[in-house]
Every structure is written in structure tokens, then in C-alpha cells.
């Protein structure tokens, strides 16, 4: 006994088959698209950054690029060095060093941080990220 397959059944089968293949192709193309749009891994990650000590006078701050993001090293008191992320933890603006007040202020939403990066006021939810800094001769090594 042979089973008759009618044209509508054949069309339905083809619709399901092609629809399934289309869905599979769509899903398969999502991963390359996601990877294409994803941020590339930062170069030089984990490496130390060296800054001449002369760039950071007492009471002054020196801004530099650290692992792809703005950072700051300062000498709040003679011989004491602090390295922090310069990115405000509220909405990513760059904090400005106020030498007279001895604190960082964010120009965007008025966040305030101490010289050690602790929140003093305003909307920032957490302190500035701090990095290890050591003095090696006349060079400061951050990271």
C-alpha cells in the first residue's frame, strides 16, 4: 500500500524545512555578529606603567592612561604616592584634582572624593578604584 503525499502536504513540509533552516542560519549568524561587535581585548593589560617621579610634585596630580582608562597619580604629602582611576564611579566623567581643597571633584554631577579616592559627597556610589604604586629610584611604577 502506498501513501499518497498531496501537494499541500509537500508544501507544508517544505515550509517547515526551510523555516527551520532559516531559523538555524539566523541563530548561527548571531554568534559571529555578537563577537564582531564585542569590544576587543585591551592591549598591554596587566603591565606596569612607569612615570618619572618629577612629574608628580607634592600636592599635584598627574593624569595618564592605565590599561585603556584614564588614571591619576598624586603626592598628597611629601613622599606619599597614591594611584587611582580618574573615572568617576557615578557616570564615568573624569574627576578633576582640586589642589586647594585637597580633593577630587567631578564636573558632571558634583561628586567629591578624597585624595585616597574615598567618597566625600555627591552621587558616586563607591570609591575610586585604587592601584598599587611603588617608588623605584626616580620612577613611579603603577600596577
Amino acid at each position: 500500500m502506498t501513501t499518497q503525499i498531496t501537494p499541500p502536504q509537500r508544501r507544508k513540509f517544505l515550509f517547515i524545512l526551510l523555516g527551520g533552516m532559516g531559523a538555524l542560519l539566523g541563530a548561527a549568524s548571531a554568534w559571529p555578529l555578537f563577537r564582531f561587535l564585542s569590544p576587543l581585548a585591551a592591549k598591554g593589560g596587566g603591565k606596569q606603567v612607569t612615570i618619572p617621579r618629577s612629574e608628580v610634585a607634592p600636592g599635584k596630580a598627574h593624569f595618564f592612561q592605565f590599561h585603556g582608562k584614564p588614571a591619576v597619580v598624586l603626592q598628597p604629602s611629601p613622599g606619599k604616592f597614591v594611584a587611582l582611576s580618574a573615572v568617576c564611579t557615578h557616570l564615568g566623567c573624569i574627576v578633576a584634582w582640586q589642589e586647594q581643597a585637597g580633593e577630587f571633584q567631578c564636573p558632571c554631577h558634583g561628586g567629591r572624593f578624597s585624595a585616597e579616592g574615598q567618597v566625600l559627597g555627591g552621587p558616586p556610589p563607591k570609591p575610586l578604584e585604587s592601584f598599587a604604586v611603588e617608588l623605584d629610584g626616580d620612577q613611579l611604577k603603577v600596577g
Binding site: A86, L91, P107
Partner: protein, 366 residues
């Protein structure tokens, strides 16, 4: 035989354009008491058209590279003949579009035109509004000025408030840990191709919804009536109405001219209105300028983030507000559209506008 008539005849026998004209333009009847607020859709289409034309012209000289973008815009403005005009038409035009969009949305809300099974019309229109905000944001970065750079930094950083995936999402939006050449590349692609294509498609769907469902009768005067919601689709006809062409088209054209005049008046008499000092300085990733402010239509969001101590609450308030607006036709189910008969809605409407204006002014001066 007159040459124009000959040409129309030539096309008509091949494509039946007289039939299209009769059906879609002259035979397309609008309510007899249709008012000037109904022209804002046509105004917006004209302004979007102007953005496309000026955008294409600017693309001929603009260089999407963080080292060259700022100088290429300076070159367009200062060296290219009439470059200043096309740049101003594009940048100021974006602001005028936002004004027209807000007026369109507010007039639809006031007249309850989202009612009567027009949820899809409202939703597509609201999505167009949000896409336009996206176009403004992505276009804002392209001149690579201090204003561009820091407005984009703050806007993209806001996504970091989303739990778990926030930090990754920020990097994904920027294409790296900070706003840089990668960000410029993806914002450029979105601004000139991605978002305009989606916008054009959505405007098409919006127009389809408007045409298919039928224009709502303004809720004023004796012509107003509430229609019973039938369990099947019904096109709202206006058999005693006025033809769209030429009757209402002339009104559309007049209001379009008014908006173009308004745009040109800003360009010629108040060119600095939308350009603070930071718009003329090249982006410096190490220096956030003092008192940096977003564009006027983002000031409410900026100030909301300042008011609430927690970023997630500030963002949450904005999401709740926008979701409420998006779902308005599903929340406000009463068939009544006359403002005088909707005291609660009108009170919330007026207070909402006052709150928006007050928070924006607060944001501007804070």
C-alpha cells in the same frame, strides 16, 4: 496636446496614476473639523527629509576618525562653501525635530487620538520618538568635541547601572573601556545607516496604521462622537469630510513653511542657541569640562540622575516613566476623548509638562 497632460496620460495608461490620485489623495477624506495640530506628522516628514539631504551632503567631507573628525567638521564649517549652512541645518534641524515630535506627541495625548483601537499607531510613533533620541545621541558624538565626548561618556555609562551585565554593556556600547575611535565607528554606522533605515521602516508602519485605521475626529465641537468598539476591524471613514489633496495638503505645506522659517530664524539670528562653548573644543579624554550639560531634551534625564542618590533608582524612574508613556493606550481605556470630560488626565498632563520643564530648567542651572 499640452506636454504635461501628455506626460500624465503616458504614465497613467501604464501605471494608473489617476486612479491612485483619486483613491489615495483626492478621495482620501479627512474630518471636516480637522485642525492645525494634525499637520505635525507632515512637518516631521519634511524635517526628516531635510536631515537626510543635509546628512548626505555632510558625509562628503566628514571623516569618522577620532583624530580627524573634529577638524573635518571645522573644515566643513569654515572652508567648504555653504558648509556652515548645511551643518547648521542638520544640527539645529535635529533640535527642531525634537520640538515638533514633542508637540505631535503632546497634541495626540491631549486630544486622546491614541484611543479607538489606535494602540499600534501610538506604539510605532512612540518608538519613532525614541529612535530619534537615539539618532540625536549617536549624531552628537560625531563632531568629536568636548561636548560630544562627555555627553556620550555619561549617556553610555548610565547603562552600567543595570545589574550583572551593566559593566559589560557599557564596554559593548563603546566598543572598549572608554569612548574612543571604536565608539565613533559604531555610532557613525548607527547614525548614518542603521538607525535611519529602521526609522524609515517604522515611519512607514506608522503611516500605514494611521491610514488603515483612519484619522480620528478632533474631540471638539458638535462633530465629536464616541464610536462603539466592534469585535472586528473597521476603518474610520469620513464620508462628508474634506479631501486630503489639495485642501489639507495646502495646510500641511503652510505649517511646513512655518517650521522651516523657524529653523532658518534660529540659524541666522541665534546660531549659538544649541552650541555651548564645549561644542567648539576638540575632545580631551583627560579633561571633563566644568558645567557640561546635555542637549535640552536630555536635561530632564540628566537632572533625574542627579536628584536620586542611587544610579539604578535614577535610571529606574526614567524607565518607569517611558514605559508608562509607551503603554498609555492600554492604561487609559475610557473611550472619552474630550479634554473637558477628562479632568484627571488633563491635570496629570499639565502637571507632567510643568514637571518636565521645571526639572529641565533645574538641570540647566544646577
Amino acid at each position: 496636446m499640452q506636454p504635461i497632460k501628455w506626460l500624465v496620460d503616458f504614465i497613467d495608461v501604464r501605471l494608473g496614476i489617476r486612479d491612485i490620485y483619486e483613491r489615495e489623495l483626492h478621495g482620501y477624506l479627512l474630518p471636516r473639523n480637522v485642525n492645525v495640530w494634525y499637520t505635525l506628522g507632515a512637518v516631521l516628514m519634511a524635517l526628516f527629509g531635510l536631515q537626510i539631504v543635509t546628512g548626505i551632503l555632510l558625509l562628503m567631507f566628514y571623516v569618522p576618525d577620532s583624530e580627524k573628525a573634529f577638524s573635518s567638521v571645522q573644515y566643513i564649517v569654515n572652508e567648504v562653501p555653504f558648509g556652515w549652512l548645511f551643518r547648521m541645518l542638520h544640527a539645529v534641524g535635529a533640535n527642531v525635530i525634537m520640538i515638533a515630535l514633542l508637540m505631535h506627541m503632546l497634541s495626540v495625548m491631549f486630544m486622546g487620538s491614541y484611543k479607538g483601537r489606535r494602540e499600534f499607531t501610538w506604539l510605532t510613533g512612540f518608538t519613532v520618538f525614541n529612535l530619534t533620541l537615539g539618532l540625536c545621541l549617536t549624531g552628537y558624538l560625531l563632531p568629536w568635541s568636548q561636548l560630544s565626548f562627555w555627553a556620550t561618556t555619561v549617556a553610555t555609562d548610565a547603562a552600567g547601572a543595570i545589574p550583572v551585565v551593566g559593566d559589560y554593556l557599557v564596554e559593548f556600547l563603546r566598543g572598549g573601556p572608554t569612548v574612543d575611535n571604536q565608539t565613533l565607528g559604531r555610532f557613525f554606522a548607527l547614525h548614518v545607516v542603521g538607525l535611519p533605515l529602521i526609522l524609515l521602516g517604522l515611519v512607514g508602519v506608522h503611516l500605514f496604521c494611521v491610514k488603515r485605521r483612519g484619522i480620528s475626529v478632533p474631540p471638539f465641537g458638535t462633530a465629536y462622537h464616541t464610536s462603539e468598539e466592534l469585535p472586528f476591524f473597521e476603518h474610520e471613514k469620513h464620508p462628508d469630510g474634506i479631501p486630503f489633496f489639495p485642501n489639507y495638503f495646502v495646510k500641511d505645506a503652510a505649517v511646513i513653511c512655518f517650521f522651516i522659517a523657524f529653523l532658518l530664524a534660529i540659524i541666522f539670528y541665534a546660531p549659538a542657541m544649541f552650541f555651548p562653548e564645549a561644542a567648539f573644543e576638540k575632545a580631551d579624554p583627560f579633561l571633563t569640562p566644568a558645567h557640561i550639560k546635555p542637549e535640552w531634551y536630555f536635561l530632564w534625564a540628566y537632572q533625574t540622575l542627579k536628584i536620586f542618590p542611587s544610579k539604578i533608582i535614577g535610571l529606574g524612574v526614567q524607565v518607569v516613566f517611558m514605559t508608562f508613556l509607551a503603554l498609555l493606550p492600554f492604561i487609559d481605556r475610557s473611550p472619552e476623548r474630550r479634554p473637558a470630560k477628562r479632568p484627571l488626565f488633563v491635570t496629570c498632563y499639565v502637571l507632567g509638562i510643568l514637571l518636565f520643564v521645571a526639572i529641565s530648567i533645574w538641570g540647566h542651572y544646577s
